[in-house]
Point group: C2
Chain length 266, copies 2
């Protein structure tokens, strides 16, 4: 569906990006409501082909929304933006180790002027559709980050890049699980339908209360844990594959685009 | 939809690939009915990133079904196949010029052992759905190749790779055009819904009777020309961008996979 943002949405998203640029660092859930948010992974040019191929081979966890040219810092999804500064909190990775979480990543681009930035779809987009259908997002209700887990499902590798799929989990009332599947299935460009429903052990998750990323969940009686492929998967691949250098967003601190969520709904 | 080929389909497709391998060269429309066919573009490794990015930025004309590793010749979509020999007719390109149309491309892989092969979805897949719905494919009826045209729509470029979108055209009765849109729209992984309906001039096509690829069409009274993004687009990009070397299939002579068309239907 081709739609454009309203003037009010554009004003809100520009103000939010400007605040992150000036040093504000807060989770972006609910910010600039109705506009798509994105995961970032930026790698030196030498790793760009494998990153793009990894995403192409694993489209559910890594749906690509935009690829910036080497060294380019303005995404076509957000005219006037600067990928080096407009995210509230970054992660800097060296040889697969997380070494820093700055609120400004300009130094990374000074060190590696050839960085290629990939923007990857975010589950916040389909969450909007779930909430509109009356399916409450528990983590939003509790003011927490969604729970994310590394699984025992290996992604399809691409050259030197490999790693396990990361999933996000939302507890859904048993009588709304089918709705959640159908609604999220309408946004294949942003993770689409769940990859797994119920039985955390089947994904190699021993204890739901200990997520690998984000906050612990609260699963109530009558609710089923529903698992979606997650855009944090590239960070899992970085940890496993140990490229010499990479920059990502910090989980929950997404890049805000000017593109309405509705653009990604089929 | 996850489905597997029947033993009869697998026997038919293996026999067809073996015949092309032994030198047979015939158009593949209708061969191994029900299994997906693919366009081929193979480029030296130095051009692989731009080719993959071009496809990612232009998913309607260039939906990727498989990417083989550099020098690899067996696609996961067709175990036991050999991409150098199992297409009936190839095209060899040097500096953007078509220089040869051999029935065996082994010499190309000897010259460039690092060739990276991309398999791209083919409209034959959605044609099957149209025919099942009672929408006759005129070119099949006449035993011709579908009509294809270079348009005035530039694809999104990727580095050195750029070019105009190529479309295939099928005349559709006015009262079935909406059905054709909806049926092909269910296969977004293989070109999806049309990009243009009626008014050839709007795509810069001056004369429908003079296609740039394939055979001339026959549009009858009460029919509307319907245009779909076409997997021959990479060949147009090769002509425009002049990479030093490339191998493609010859239009109409597709690579046959073991994957049912139904796998690509949503």
């Amino acid at each position: 569906m081709s739609v454009t943002a309203t003037p009010a949405q554009l004003a809100a998203v520009r103000e939010a990006r400007a605040s992150y640029r000036s040093g504000v660092s807060v989770p972006t859930s609910g910010v600039a409501h109705g506009l798509a948010q994105a995961n970032l992974i930026a790698v030196p040019q030498d790793w760009a082909y494998e990153t793009l191929l990894f995403a192409q081979r694993n489209p559910k966890p890594c749906p690509i929304l935009d690829v910036l040219e080497a060294g380019q810092v303005e995404s076509t999804l957000a005219p006037g933006s600067d990928i080096r500064t407009d995210i509230g909190k970054y992660r800097i990775w060296r040889d697969g180790e997380l070494v820093d979480e700055p609120s400004d990543a300009s130094a990374a681009w000074q060190e590696h002027p050839d960085l290629v930035s990939f923007l990857i779809g975010c589950s916040f987009t389909f969450e909007a559709g779930l909430v509109d259908a009356g399916i409450t997002m528990r983590h939003q209700e509790l003011g927490r980050n969604v729970s994310m887990y590394r699984t025992n499902r290996e992604c399809a590798p691409a050259g030197r890049l490999h790693g396990a799929m990361v999933v996000s989990m939302r507890p859904i009332p048993a009588d709304r699980v089918a709705d959640a599947v159908q609604i999220s299935g309408r946004t294949p460009a942003v993770h689409g339908a769940p990859v797994h429903i119920g039985d955390p052990g089947g994904l190699g998750i021993a204890d739901l209360s200990e997520p690998d990323f984000g906050d612990a969940p609260e699963v109530r009686d009558g609710e089923v844990p529903v698992f979606w492929a997650c855009g944090v998967t590239p960070q899992s691949a970085i940890m496993a594959s140990r490229p010499p250098f990479a920059v990502t967003h910090a989980p929950g601190h997404m890049f805000l685009t000017d593109i309405p969520d509705a653009h990604y709904v089929q």
